[in-house]
Symmetry: C2
Subunit: 315 residues, 2 copies
């Protein structure tokens, strides 16, 4: 039986831990001792699209954990290094799969483990009701492929995908997962950057292109800019992010960066719009809009702690 470690056990991590525990020895690496205790005592109950009860193990002590065949990182992109470092030595033989938002976590994981890394993209979504109860909402394919610089053999990628499928979720192993990753990245980066700055949920405003000042023009421009960066990097996208945006704009879904901004938490912008800006900059490709919004969001984050000289806000 394969051994899998889930790193970051929020809603996505809980979903994967529960499904995979049906076909593998799964350890959930968590930060809070009471989180570990709750899972060890009660297991994880799954409701929603899939309904079952699973019994992964859980621990916050790397010293009591074994070597693993596979790691799956599901934490917020901003917490990758902190989350992976304590267990990095447990993947001497195993690969580590990132199922996180955006682009760039693979690089961080690779720097920390020095081993094989798999890039993954998923739209799976769920709601975490408690440490031991998660509801599956949207079960879609995870697209997984080698993180090229780590030299992960494709057989390892296929093995990871087969384990996920055996556990009851969807996954496809791809020789090159960058087209899938960039498709989601461009969609996600454009919507999240606009949401962080306007504080609008993913509403009809994002697709409206009638008047000159309509926000939909900007979304369209951000998406086109992302597509042209991808093309410049030799990546052919899997789907049209603008069509994805038009569908999303009917949902009034709150993008994750909107949650961060409302709660004054450091956003994932480095891994979303910031990743597009940075990759474009590295390759000498223009990305003025993603770069501008990246800098604004950084400025917004700074505003939470900047005291400055005191002034009356007067006219």
């Amino acid at each position: 039986m394969k051994r899998i470690c889930i790193i970051g056990v929020g809603s996505i991590g809980s979903l994967y831990a529960a499904h995979l525990a049906r076909v593998a020895e799964v350890w959930a690496f968590v930060r809070r001792p009471e989180h570990a205790r709750a899972i060890n005592e009660q297991g994880i109950r799954l409701t929603g699209t899939h309904e079952f009860h699973a019994r992964p193990r859980a621990s916050c002590q790397p010293t009591e954990m074994p070597q693993f065949d596979l790691g799956i990182v599901c934490c917020k992109a901003t917490q990758t290094e902190e989350a992976v470092r304590p267990v990095a030595h447990l993947f001497a033989q195993g690969a580590v799969l990132s199922l996180q938002n955006g682009l760039g976590s693979e690089e961080v994981i690779h720097a920390v483990t020095g081993g094989q890394v798999i890039r993954g993209t998923t739209f799976v979504s769920g709601t975490r009701h408690s440490d031991t109860h998660v509801q599956l909402e949207l079960d879609t394919e995870a697209w997984v492929g080698p993180y090229e610089p780590s030299g992960t053999p494709f057989s390892k990628v296929k093995e990871a995908a087969e384990l996920i499928v055996a556990g009851g979720l969807k996954a496809v192993a791809l020789e090159d997962a960058r087209p899938a990753q960039w498709t989601k990245l461009i969609f996600n980066a454009s919507v999240n950057s606009a949401a962080a700055l306007t504080e609008l949920v993913h509403s009809e405003h994002y697709a409206r292109e009638e008047k000159f000042d309509d926000l939909g023009h900007l979304l369209h421009d951000l998406i086109k800019e992302g597509q042209s960066v991808a093309a410049g990097l030799g990546i052919t996208l899997r789907d049209d992010p603008w069509e994805m945006n038009k569908i999303g704009a009917r949902t009034d879904h709150p993008p994750s960066m909107l949650y961060d901004i409302r709660n004054k938490l450091k956003t994932e912008v480095d891994y979303l719009g910031g990743a597009i800006a940075r990759e474009a900059h590295r390759a000498g490709l223009p990305a003025p809009l993603h770069t501008a919004l990246y800098r604004l969001i950084r400025g917004k984050e700074s505003s939470w702690t900047y005291a400055g000289k005191k002034h009356e806000v007067a006219r």
Copy 2:
């Protein structure tokens, strides 16, 4: 003695009303009856850089007001039409000078009065302590010139500037005031758009250009874009808005749009970044950054009233 009407009697309007009342018959056209009564009973007391007491008249009744030689509009740009319309007929012989923020109010005034309009730009600033007490902080030159489409003769512009100077403030009449207006517009639009979206006061962040994600890069790009739009329109700027930004970034001054955003008030973006975007669009010139920020600020304004379908903000 010339007759002057001040339209919009906030801090700037109070400063001009008080100074001009020393050399002309000045009427302050106000909205609140108690504002008119207070000025009529107590006059306006000036403190700060200049200290004196002046006795303009005030009224909220256009029917009791005479014909004027000059109007000076000092209200928020978003309120121009509403403020000018009731007294528009009182300028059959007189010109109307806009001392408002940004670009575009002249067009609104001209549409409402059908008469001669003067474009003006001022950095004068003050704090309004009450309806009858205003403190002068920064006394700088007002740059005034004809609003070209209204065919205002230059003699009228000179007369307006001479009245202001006689009253004790600074003013210069220019055959073409657009270089001065665009200089301030580019500075003001760039700083205010960034402030509206980051909610940072005009701090050191606006001039910092070390790391890739520093906000100063964006300010520099916004200013360069504004300069290139001005150049495309044949306007040679009077000063370098980037140098103005570097000085301003030491002050921690709260830009006016930051006040609006914090108080969920419609901003002046139509007359600042939106004016640059719109003028560029009309002339077929590129202004992607000002246009992007304009659309984001419009989106932000929409977020205050958009209810949408209810969702839990979850991850």
